[in-house]
Assembly symmetry: C6
Homo-oligomer: 74 residues x 6
């Protein structure tokens, strides 16, 4: 993947949250590079409550970083 | 979803906690966009002790960010 | 729930720890609003080592926030 | 439990680590108040690799707080 | 392993993210030193949604550290 | 265990990472004091992908603390 993360600065907290979601997904792509396998795995987590909560945990961790980078948008 | 997270600033710690709960839920919605599936999954976590603890972990992570953004409401 | 979290400031680290325990529990209440179901789930985690460790993890995350809010009681 | 956590300040990082271990255990005691049940659960985690790793995760989270409180003992 | 982590400073957030991925993998190598066993385990996590999410969680934790080290590349 | 953690200061990030690995292991030793049992458990995690990821998570958490203590080696 090329320079997909050029900055942590976003205009709004909502944009920062969306960036955190993206950041949580890229590690999966870098670990499982085969898009066909990733697609096959999608129902395993998208239809599983515990997996969705785990995704949310990763997003929360990345959001903390993005928020700090943006001075909490104050 | 539109600009649902316009600010991390809240009037009180209680409001900040409620915001953290909301933030924990949005990642789930963004990962599983189908409300019918999410509704079907609800008993899987709402009636499962370990899932509820995992939800609480996500809330704790987001609350840390919200609290820092608000200067800990001091 | 009304304004249950009016401040993160506590007199002592022990009080801050107790607050963190409370903060870990409220997210569960907000996710599973039915007290009868929560009571039924209690043995599922209170008599399960891994669940108790997971609870302790949530408390640790909240305690970090409370401790920072109190300037580490120094 | 009385005022078991009077301060986060310790003389050395080793003492701070030991405090973090203690802090990770107290949440378990506060959630499962029956010492007989806790004793019964002990082999469930003390002889289980994943449980021991989870305990170590809680200790790591508390140690981060204790280390910050002590200015990293510098 | 020799001095594989000479600095946390990277030119861009993307490079910092890649470093975080590397950092998440080295702990595995230091715990399981046998490359043949690691190779055998690869499908266990690379084709398992929950494992991939867990990997992403580790990356998020390391990325927070790398981002702080780089002053969030501001 | 005697004063095994006399300082969090290390010469390089690599040394800091190695210290974080050590810190992740000591909590296990303090929880399961019997070396024979720990040895018996070793394949349970060293040959299990999810356990290795969990170990890596603990290391990441400790590394964050060590890195902060060292001013990120800047």
């Amino acid at each position: 993947m090329d320079n997909w993360l050029s900055t942590l600065i976003t205009a709004t907290p909502t944009d920062g949250y969306n960036l955190a979601v993206k950041m949580s997904r890229v590690a999966v792509k870098l670990t499982q590079g085969d898009a066909a396998i990733r697609d096959k795995l999608r129902p395993d987590y998208a239809e599983n409550a515990d997996s969705l909560i785990a995704v949310s945990q990763v997003v929360a961790t990345h959001f903390a970083t993005v928020a700090a980078a943006n001075g909490y948008w104050k």
